[in-house]
Symmetry: C2
Subunit: 332 residues, 2 copies
Amino acid sequence: MGDTLILGIDIGGANTKITEIEGDNYKTHHIYFPMWKKKDELEKLLKNYSDNVDYVALVMTAELADCYKTKKEGVEDIINKVENAFNCPIYIFDVNGNFLTPEQAKKNYLDVSASNWNATAKFVSEFIKDSCILVDMGSTTTDIIPIKDKNILAEKTDLDRLMSNQLIYVGTLRTPVSFLTNKIEFRGKLTNLSSEYFAITADMAVILNKITEKDYTCDTPDGSGKDYESCLTRLARVLCADRELINDDEIVDIANKLYNKLLELIRENINNVAKKYNLKDVVITGLGESILKDALNDHYNLISIKEIYGKDVSLSTPSFAVAKLLQKQLKY
Amino acid sequence: MGDTLILGIDIGGANTKITEIEGDNYKTHHIYFPMWKKKDELEKLLKNYSDNVDYVALVMTAELADCYKTKKEGVEDIINKVENAFNCPIYIFDVNGNFLTPEQAKKNYLDVSASNWNATAKFVSEFIKDSCILVDMGSTTTDIIPIKDKNILAEKTDLDRLMSNQLIYVGTLRTPVSFLTNKIEFRGKLTNLSSEYFAITADMAVILNKITEKDYTCDTPDGSGKDYESCLTRLARVLCADRELINDDEIVDIANKLYNKLLELIRENINNVAKKYNLKDVVITGLGESILKDALNDHYNLISIKEIYGKDVSLSTPSFAVAKLLQKQLKY
């Protein structure tokens, strides 16, 4: 007889992530599954992973997608589909750190909405460090969550998070580089940048080898390729230039200067949180782990989820986290 | 017998502007005419303005539109259509300040491409001030052109202009407000802004009454209205908020803070140009005249094209300028 099989599921608007956990073994699946187009096929998708599953642990954000008029409608529909797909107990993680039954979750739909990062934070506090700053740098934003003696001290709304250095609207892929600064030093002159949507952090990150071409999973600003050369072309355009007007070394230098602006912005915000809560350990996760390392290595004791659990878990921590938390609660 | 009728024509990618000048009288027409869709109807459009015309003075930028494969093809096609529409002499203004015949212009197509701002600069140097900084704030960019003893000291490429404070990529309408800064003071806290395409300078300008709703001629970021209330909604979104989370006075305060960032950026760049060329007079034109006034009033002697020639001329100075220059050259 094998161990108990627990499935952690994170149903997002664009991606569904599933982690299978059996004892100390785990495997993570990333599935591009745009709910606004395909929500009626969710049940069918989940059934592919239902064999021999003993328990399901669920978090979601897809209820915020515009295929649902309200959070209530979204939460109900998603839970119904999960119930139809599995013949086993289902537990839904809420923002207060509890597992709810489907009935409880539908009743308290506001508590189970967008609880995915709470799952990650609780997992970190239980399994990695009970006092630390959890930093998750995804494609679009960087979430900074202070944890003190297992208390997750995150603000509730995005507005409050922006106001208290807990949310920076910079990510590994989708941030326009002109958000980082509107001027940089070029050929010894402080030079204005274009404000058009010409290049994004993904272009900079490919040029500087912080991500691979394969990690560049969003659309390119000009619709052309994700290769190194195309990234150079796009970055040159931010100075209204091309690869004839400025050479490749100069474009790499521009990438480095923009990158330093990004690192400064991350550092500033984390310094403020660290000071406020007197925290020195930082747990990093997400596609931007290597960027976070560059920003924080000299200043903090870093703990990398990628190094402990692998890249797949780093890219979909909530589905892994929620499964681990249920596993612990059920004492398997 | 009336005065000689001169038509100044500025054929852009999206708009064609025509100024009729007869002695000291003038009238300007703005026509939304997207060349990439309608270039085959250009001749017909121009014929509507051809009655009794004695001379045509032409500038263009539409040759850069993507309906033309090359500048050469664009310049030739546009000049041919203008020739077909009018039974009178046609002069095309070039970047060196000369009027060319259609034959000369087609041969020297690079010299007549995008010469519209040269026409404005030469007009200013001949008719308004022989030493000054010409600042034209349009929908998307702000052009800063130093003029010294009638010499137009503009750099040639956009890259060189960005490097020497002659081009700022901020305009009255289309600039994302998150280009101005990535954080602002809000409720006493330095607050991160969203980098999504949520609000543009047009929203800020409507809220602060720097432009009217009618001047908001570009698309809105969210596709909804251009009224004051919709602009407030969009600006709140830059803090991931809405008009319930933050009140209207607070949104106006955010608009003011962003506006000050815009004014600083404009002032910095113009200060550098003024210092370099030892210039104190600034001639302002374009949709953003009132913004330029706020930025520069206390520091420079301002001369407003809108105040001298009216709003229509301020919004389409090249077509007026090129007609005035031809009128002067022909001594009418």
